[in-house]
Symmetry: C2
């Protein structure tokens, strides 16, 4: 169904450039002043409460499992139902939000987005972070190995590693600069101190819907049947803690002090019009058979525009607006979502509804399209100058970092929302 040009009876959903037109319908979990959480779907400037729709009898024709799932306080149960159920729910929502005959019944279930609090959309069992931008991997690698920036496995394997679920939070939460063991290159011993090289990472968050069984790989053909949708994700990183701790087993405390998601999960169906071909340079290794498929080559990539913005304490004090630091696009990713899912399960690893895959920092081919300050400032050696004259090597206390993502253009936009965090000063443990 092409919903791109269908209008809603809710005027705010039809305004050019609105992030939440009828063609989007992203999921979120929210509350309104009390403890109860609800599943909602974004439309225009509002969110529609799915539990309220069900209680109003508007889902009576849907399967019982779906009617039960929308009443939960987290998305895991709906995620686990699988693709055909997600489609059935989406079709019904389009009907309810487009046909004037439903307006009177649906309106009481709408709440202005500004009046709700957002929560994590699901219990995230496991979080895996990938490293799918070859431009990011090359620029970061060149800081450490100028002659040989990319490791030999990069073009063969969608590199990934396990992350920490417990410290993932929703957009809007502030956090304290972390403490950790730091060792300056010329110091004899490490010491405990406040992170001096705090950085953001511009990532897409990919949510697993239907799970898979331990011992049963998911093929490329089936991979996207297991994907519920995408969010924006900031994989906050302490570069100095990472440099000292990460050999030989990878990042640990440099990554698990705080990570953050946008409140919205945009369904894969809403992204369908923005799919594009995924190509592999003929000079590069072609993917091994298990990571290759015609569908993936034809439509594996997705044109999702990504941006990083900063608002410093001085900008706030001076009433200046936030400033864009960089932009890039997920279509540049060296590996696709299907390849991440298939690679993750080729050894039999199981996936569960609500698991999160980070795409890894999405940087474009040009330096100014870098998705981290580590790249933009060449490891801190070339600070950037903001329009108000302030300089940044890494993120400073009082900085707000805002990641944004969307498909489309100023006429029809599919927004992924934003992930927005303020960095507070930290304190060293006694």
């Amino acid at each position: 169904m092409n919903t791109n040009r269908i209008n809603s009876w809710l005027p705010s959903a039809n305004i050019a450039g609105c992030e939440f037109p009828l063609a989007n319908l992203p999921y979120a979990v929210f509350s309104c002043g009390n403890e109860k959480h609800y599943i909602g779907v974004g439309i225009g400037d509002s969110i529609v409460n799915l539990c309220a729709l069900e209680e109003a009898g508007l889902f009576d024709e849907l399967d019982l499992c779906l009617r039960d799932a929308v009443k939960q306080q987290a998305l895991n149960q709906l995620m686990g139902l699988g693709h055909s159920h997600w489609t059935a729910l989406r079709l019904r929502l389009v009907e309810l939000l487009s046909k004037n005959t439903y307006q009177n019944q649906v309106e009481p279930c709408l709440i202005p987005q500004v009046d709700v609090s957002f929560h994590l959309p699901c219990q995230i069992g496991d979080y895996t972070d990938f490293y799918t931008s070859v431009h990011h991997a090359t620029r970061v690698g060149s800081l450490f190995r100028p002659d040989n920036p990319l490791l030999p496995n990069y073009k063969w394997i969608p590199i990934g590693y396990h992350g920490r679920s417990s410290s993932i939070r929703i957009s809007g939460e502030a956090f304290k600069r972390p403490v950790g063991q730091l060792k300056a290159p010329d110091a004899e011993c490490p010491e405990l101190g406040l992170c001096k090289r705090l950085d953001y990472e511009l990532e897409l968050g990919i949510f697993i819907g239907k799970g898979s069984q331990l011992g049963t790989p998911v093929s490329m053909v089936d991979a996207e049947q297991h994907v519920f949708g995408v969010s924006m994700f900031n994989d906050w990183s302490a570069r100095d803690i990472q440099a000292w701790e990460y050999q030989p087993l990878g990042p640990f405390l440099s990554k698990n002090f705080f990570s953050s998601l946008s409140p919205w999960i945009v369904p894969m169906e809403a992204l369908a019009p923005y799919r594009c071909d995924w190509t592999r340079d003929s000079a590069d290794p072609q993917p091994l058979d298990y990571l290759d498929s015609k569908v993936n080559r034809d439509k594996g990539a997705i044109d999702i525009k990504l941006e990083v913005w900063i608002e410093t304490a001085k900008m706030r004090a001076d009433n200046q607006p936030a400033e864009r630091l960089s932009k890039s696009n997920f279509k540049e990713s060296y590996w696709t979502i299907a390849q991440m899912v298939t690679h993750h399960t080729v050894n039999g690893c199981d996936l569960k509804p609500g698991d999160l895959l980070g795409s890894g920092t999405q940087s474009g081919p040009n330096h100014e399209e870098s998705g981290s300050l580590l790249e933009l400032t060449a490891g801190g050696k070339a600070p950037i100058t903001l329009s108000n004259g302030e300089q940044r090597s890494f993120v400073e206390d009082g900085d707000r970092i805002i990641l944004k993502g969307y498909c489309g253009d100023d006429q029809l936009k599919i927004g992924l929302g934003q992930v927005d965090n303020l960095v507070l000063s930290g304190s060293k443990p006694e």
Copy 2:
């Protein structure tokens, strides 16, 4: 309370060398032929059903939160209550299982261990694997860097990395040899194939009880207040998958195809008599202040004896018993449990009830005390010969690997139970 010499009215608990005397009382989650799971405590050859004790009115004097927690189907709620509640429950269980006056009431709540099925004891939110054996790190490092086996950070940081929770299973489950990208050193390209270098890792599993808040480090003084107990843990590893994938972000598919726990969680109180001093060689760096405490130096280590056994398909066919491959002791660990917890949270990372910390492979100072085949066979170059003449470089299809752990001696033993898995042949995806 010293329960070491108190006898139970259950004769099997008092037999010399029994793994589950009254001084142990390890927790497990079990079922008896239907879907309902129960929390139980091991005693002698039996398990006592805590929900049944509560329903019989035998916990009426305990706090309501505790009485509710023991009726759950997983341990997370009990874990989250904290130390004083765990102690109160333990004291009551000792009373019920030692005083003859309770025998008639408690006996209907006892089930022979051989008649139950065990399940994961809790929902494991996050699993972190440490690398605390300096002997393991040195021997593994020497395979790759003979002149400089230990990396510079090792003696300063309790090295850890995030693992996968979803693929952790309970002892007794068989699993298929995993598939993955492999690249022989002399091959031009990698290929998808069955793992040829499958290995076990002899680890302790450490369960977090009471959680901690994001942004709030846990000090060394408080660290063990957050620890519920310990299990045996096999961190199954595909060495050839790991060698090709792990740069630069650490192990991924080489570790997440299957991991396995013993069914029992031994409470920290049961281990108290086996605490011993933790020393740091004067030639080594002393721990940074945040990782140091007098209690840790006096009693931070624990004398837990660890063993690896193998039963090959041929042994089974020939009716030969399993054979011990190695033994080691957790007291040799370079870092203690308190140091793992404190380091994990120093950056503000939060812990949740039921989180699992793997100790990392526990190898002793001597080669024959190696906790992995990678070490025992020098990376496969020096196969070991079993008593029936079979050789092993790595684990083969049909091998059963059994890890065992216990404190004490043949008179009074505190068993951690065993983790026992059979390796099945794998198949390459089409």
